[in-house]
Symmetry: C2
Subunit: 199 residues, 2 copies
């Protein structure tokens, strides 16, 4: 065995030990609250990746889309025939297209009722609240209403919340937080958003 | 209209103008090179979310899994029957389980040939090179080989590369880079990885 091989083997053994120790220490089992936030690409996409994953094991999944509702959405099209997937969409689409606080609030509260139904259903293994953070930021939804529904959900249910500028009460409750930071974005260099990739 | 409504309307108009301006400025159309890196959760998941999205429009997709090959993988199970999806898996699984540099290098080069085939095929709209960064870091693959294959790929093909510690040459080439930063991870607080959520 060369020196390089030996060094490699030692490094890999150390890494394996580190991972094994962490796996052994993780003993608590329950549903998680995950927040995907930050200004970079990948928040909603990672949520849909998790939806695909959960459906792959036959779990029931609920998705509530608070903003992108009226956009074309390839992942929704791909999965929508799955009987285990339940999707609720806010009727108004992008809120900066309507510019009417009253009708946007009503549309938000209507789709929030669907979210509450999913968050109360022990058969639903994963709930995605896509772009929820903006509803709180714009004042369409009350943070206390949201945290109450999250706290009272079935203990095995995992929830993913996506969007920039997540409310500090959501961050405080979260088990896992990833901040998707934009290092570079093609769109800002004049590259067009691509069908099947960006939407 | 109340003051609050007027302020809201003005803020939304400004936001809409900003987005409209950016959309108008984005005129170049070609496949993108995207890198999802950083130590947080969501890199591979966002890649699979994009796979689901592209399949939703009927595009052909190739996925090469360089490390997680032997793990259970719900998203692969969910999508694998899709005739537009081609998945190649590195045979050895987690490299720190084998701890043999020579056999890992051979396994890496074998699956890299599948990647090269996809990267040369104009029918493939999206190629995911999942966990490729570690192959470069461990010295199983040469960076020049990788950048040559990326540079010579069909101009309409988008490539997503995932993994921590992305090589600086990959970052220099990338159109979009998101760094998934771990703010908090349930696993580090003793919570078990969950089937259908974490794998």
């Amino acid at each position: 065995m060369t020196d390089r091989d030996t060094r490699h083997k030692n490094a890999m053994q150390k890494l394996k030990q580190h991972v094994d120790d962490k796996v052994a220490a993780a003993t608590e089992e329950r549903g998680l609250l995950m927040v995907f936030t930050g200004n970079g690409k990948g928040k909603t996409t990672a949520a849909w990746g998790t939806v695909t994953r959960a459906l792959g094991y036959g779990y029931r999944v609920g998705v509530v889309q608070f903003i992108k509702g009226l956009w074309e959405c390839g992942e929704r099209e791909r999965l929508v025939e799955d009987l285990n997937l339940d999707v609720a969409i806010m009727a108004t689409g992008f809120t900066w297209d309507t510019q009417n606080r009253e009708s946007d609030t009503a549309a938000c509260l209507e789709v929030w009722r669907e979210a509450e139904r999913m968050l109360a259903d022990p058969e639903v293994y994963l709930v995605v609240l896509d772009e929820l953070t903006y509803m709180l930021k714009f004042g369409y939804l009350d943070i206390a209403t949201v945290t109450a529904a999250l706290e009272n959900r079935p203990s095995d249910q995992t929830v993913i919340i996506t969007g920039r500028n997540a409310h500090r009460d959501l961050l405080a409750m979260a088990d896992t937080i990833t901040e998707m930071q934009e290092v570079r974005h093609a769109f800002n260099n004049g590259l067009k958003a691509r069908r099947g990739i960006d939407f």
